[in-house]
Symmetry: D2
Subunit: 338 residues, 4 copies
């Protein structure tokens, strides 16, 4: 932490800041410039985080220098984490693909989707049983019945199941049916839920919040890891910006940024990230070229009949084409698709 004093700060104000900081068990390092004094804080960052120094007279601003997370960082663990989901590895040289409908709508729709994505080479089946929807009057998901269908699809195809958990109560039931618990964008800072999935020990796919900085996202993963659960995967799914041609702005630079800052794997969801099916294939290729460890793709046997997000779902044909294209790109960057 660095404290920048105002040019008009008095000697007395500087001394009060120093007294406050040292009183909290930290050391200081004063640097007196031509215009102003700068105070460096040395010691435990936990202690620093609790000092509201900007409220003290004479302080212009306090700048945090060190990150507030630890377990997620490359400094803590240098080699890449590989998450083992029942034998399917996420994070190594092989790329994974998670695909399926936005929502589980019926047994037929789900099994058909599972067969399609399996045939095209995906390792995971995605599909929402509990659906967070903007309006209370929209389709909210089949809930446990949907989970049963997902489990049936798994036993028929061998695909791993990734599905969203929307509250603490349903962590046990979703854990009973799924292989990976997904935390949706709207719950990225639902800290009670993060702790609960941390305690579950299940592999977790942590989607980025719509307005979450990379720094906040890393902290959200730290919540899960601080409960002893190291099986965390990030999922970039677009951030909210002024641009309205796309549903969100897919921030692919976050993939490379996370790879620098953290050892955890990173998945990209170009379906939610763009909201426009025509943009899904090019952005899937771009994600893989940019270093993503996997893709999450919405596929529907008949997008025009989907109960949610049909506008961004791929047809089976488009999904197959996507798999072929991204496989070629994967090879070009030294990765493999199964």
């Amino acid at each position: 932490m660095i404290i920048v004093m105002s040019p008009s700060a008095t000697q007395n104000e500087i001394e009060q800041v120093v007294a406050r900081v040292t009183g909290a068990g930290l050391k200081v390092h004063l640097s007196e410039g031509k215009l102003r004094t700068i105070i460096g804080l040395i010691g435990e960052k936990k202690l620093m985080a609790q000092l509201p120094l900007e409220a003290m007279p004479g302080v212009e601003k306090a700048i945090s220098v060190t990150a507030g997370y630890k377990l997620v960082s490359r400094e803590f663990k240098n080699e890449d984490t590989i998450v083992d989901v029942g034998g399917v590895l996420v994070g190594g040289v092989n790329l994974v693909v998670m695909a399926g409908p936005c929502a589980v709508e019926s047994r037929e729709q789900l099994l058909e989707s599972a067969n399609i994505v399996k045939a095209a080479g995906a390792q995971f089946l995605r599909g929402g049983a509990f659906k967070p929807r903007t309006s209370p009057y929209s389709f909210q998901g089949l809930e446990e019945k949907g989970l049963e269908m997902l489990a049936e699809a798994r036993s028929l195809t061998g695909l791993k199941v990734v599905t969203e958990v929307v509250d603490i109560q349903s962590v046990p039931v979703v854990s009973a049916y799924a292989d990976v618990l997904q935390i949706g964008a709207r719950n990225m800072q639902n800290f009670q839920l993060l702790k609960a999935v941390g305690k579950s020990g299940m592999p977790v796919l942590l989607k980025r919040g719509m307005a979450a900085t990379i720094n906040e996202w890393l902290h959200a993963a730290e919540y899960i890891m601080s409960e002893g659960n190291f099986n965390v995967m990030f999922c970039e799914r677009g951030i909210r910006t002024f641009e309205d041609y796309t549903r969100n702005t897919l921030d692919l630079s976050a993939v490379a940024a996370l790879k620098n800052l953290s050892h955890l794997p990173v998945i990209v969801d170009p379906s939610h990230g763009t909201g426009v099916w025509k943009l899904v294939r090019p952005m899937a290729r771009a994600a893989v070229a940019g270093g993503a460890d996997g893709l999450m793709i919405e596929v529907h046997p008949n997008p025009a009949e989907a109960l949610s997000d049909g506008n961004q779902s791929l047809t089976p044909e488009n999904f197959q084409a996507l798999m072929q294209e991204t496989s070629a790109v994967a090879q070009a960057v030294g990765r493999r698709m199964a």
Copy 2:
């Protein structure tokens, strides 16, 4: 819902859209322009919401014309809602002020804060017992002990208590101690929690999500109201933008927008909305002049000692000045502060 067909759409594609729409129980109205055909949909909006028409061949875009909410709207209820919180009315000619520390830190700090804000004229005591924090290593609140202190402060001062509820499990305990349940910004689209506070019947203060549009915010309130709970108050607390001088960008135009679209009262929180204590007084005055029904203000006996958000908390002296200034502004716009 209006469907804009592409200029290159074929007659067959137009007919398929019409068949799909009428098959879903809706009527259509065709408008053939020089360049393209436009199809208007007539019928239940619930039916329309479930049609993924943009996925159909030949469709350029589908534009939603009617809102997906109902109970929160001025069309549903024209006169202003006044929420009765144990005798204190929110939403009429009288403005309310909710003030206190960001977090309950200790019995002494809270009771001192309560006395300060009571003396200056506030009707509500705010203070977090459960604190959502970006980092798992930051102070997380005193939890039920904090609630007990809030209740003691209420019995000593007569102030109503507003405090945050962060998950479904704690709705009963918070309801037992508080007068108003606050939904924090990070939980604005935690739909399970919205339903739970809806069922509780308690007055609810619904903070705006950091990246929530006004439209999504109205829908979040609709979740609460659709459970039969009409005691909902909005609280504007700033949105996330590129500007970094302030912690958030306080969107005061949302106040007037909500007053046009909805009958529910609107509170403004300039403390979180700016994150800079020097900006709190001018923005409190602005909020009242712009039509807010009340203010939520962070006040701390000694901001430089606060465990959270000290940088945006007012000293007792500044809070008194705020109350006087805003009272004058209130009169100028035909409102009253107690």
Copy 3:
């Protein structure tokens, strides 16, 4: 400037940074923490600005501590600047109102508008003769003919004229007719134009860019002032955010922020700031309560007939009501409207 070295920086890397900095004529101050070394730079900020230190090995980030502007700052000049526009003072206890149509459309429309805003108490007539428009096929303004009409309206009513200048070439002709040169949002970082209006010596109204931070805006004003022209007024007109109910998000906290950081007057334009005529009156009241030195309001004799921005223009009746309301608010905050 503060340089934060990476935890893994070697002693050699630290020494190279020190050598680079001292070689550039600056002094350093080393602070060795538990985890990392921090290097404070002391000396001319101009020298610091030209060092790309983040590109050096071992450097994690370089943090700028001091502002890059000088003449616009409160440190440079503590008392408020009052800009004298031919006898009308902008920036003192009296608030000014600049009103009129978005674009000059015809002599009749302009003279009628001028009479309306004069009668309601405005001191300035606004109206675009050169119009920056998103599409090349939209109405682009009457150009010099429009300027002549503005000058005629001034001689008939005594109103001062504020109008936009869109390129260097037209600075002389606009200066010949207008009292204040307006720099539009799209040109806030058109640095050649800023220098040109700086050299003109004319009073300048500097609108905020759609995506400009407060810091960049201050620098833009510094461009004008660094040419010796101190007659600069800021105009907040909304920033671009994800919210789409309003055309822009009017950032009223920028008013108080600017008042803290700078001595220059600040005008608020709630017409462009919201884009919705129903929101103009409440936001005008809010702006005045929040400390604005004046308002810029679009008024049209018949908004439904306007050639541009009719949707955000006030009718004469609404403008009169605005003047009365804001006058009451002005009094409540110790200001006066003429």
Copy 4:
């Protein structure tokens, strides 16, 4: 254009809208729903654009259905445009690379840079002679001397020269030395400058504005094309969002969006798009995989000595690696790098 009437609109208000629209020479198509009436407008969009219908009583909103641009659109010209820059083709199967320092700093620096980028396989030399800088006290470029150096570098290496033009006055001099005129982000809506480069007939590289929507960007290109100059290339360089780890958020989905909407080639600048040299290589690969027609990359012989943007510049070694990596990706998507 579609006009959505309010549910409370009267028959008289509907008739007035119809009268206004037909009076302007347009036809209408009425669609009376259960809740509200919707009025479709048929006719010239130029006429529609000038009707401020939202200002009319009873109108809830007016929705534009057709784009305001024409020449840039795929509807106008279906096959991809290939811009011929003195024999180097931009837009076909071959990808182009524009590389060099942010600013021309000296003859030695520029010639060294030119040799480096030429050797690595670039076709264009980039380098600013006129530099738009946030602060008036930052290095502003070598101006015409810089242009001379660029021309010398071209004659020595055969590279084409792309450099920024910042105002109308310097269009002739920049045109005399450069092969491509670059319009910088801050000038994307400097409409006078767009018209001037349109009239020049020179190839133009149009960078996206920091807060420009794709729609506004297309309109900016339309300004250039409407002057008869069809040699326009887009350049995505990141948009401004809340994320502060990167300097901007590189919006790669804009590449695929533009390819759908327009026939013009699209270049990507990951150097400005991220502002972090470590992210440039992965984002360059991603851009090519996502469909970009070329790259613009900042390369400096010694980034740590650069006078501007050293933090985002690549060393010669990193640039060579980038060229090899992207070449492999290009092949995987059916493109070629020279």
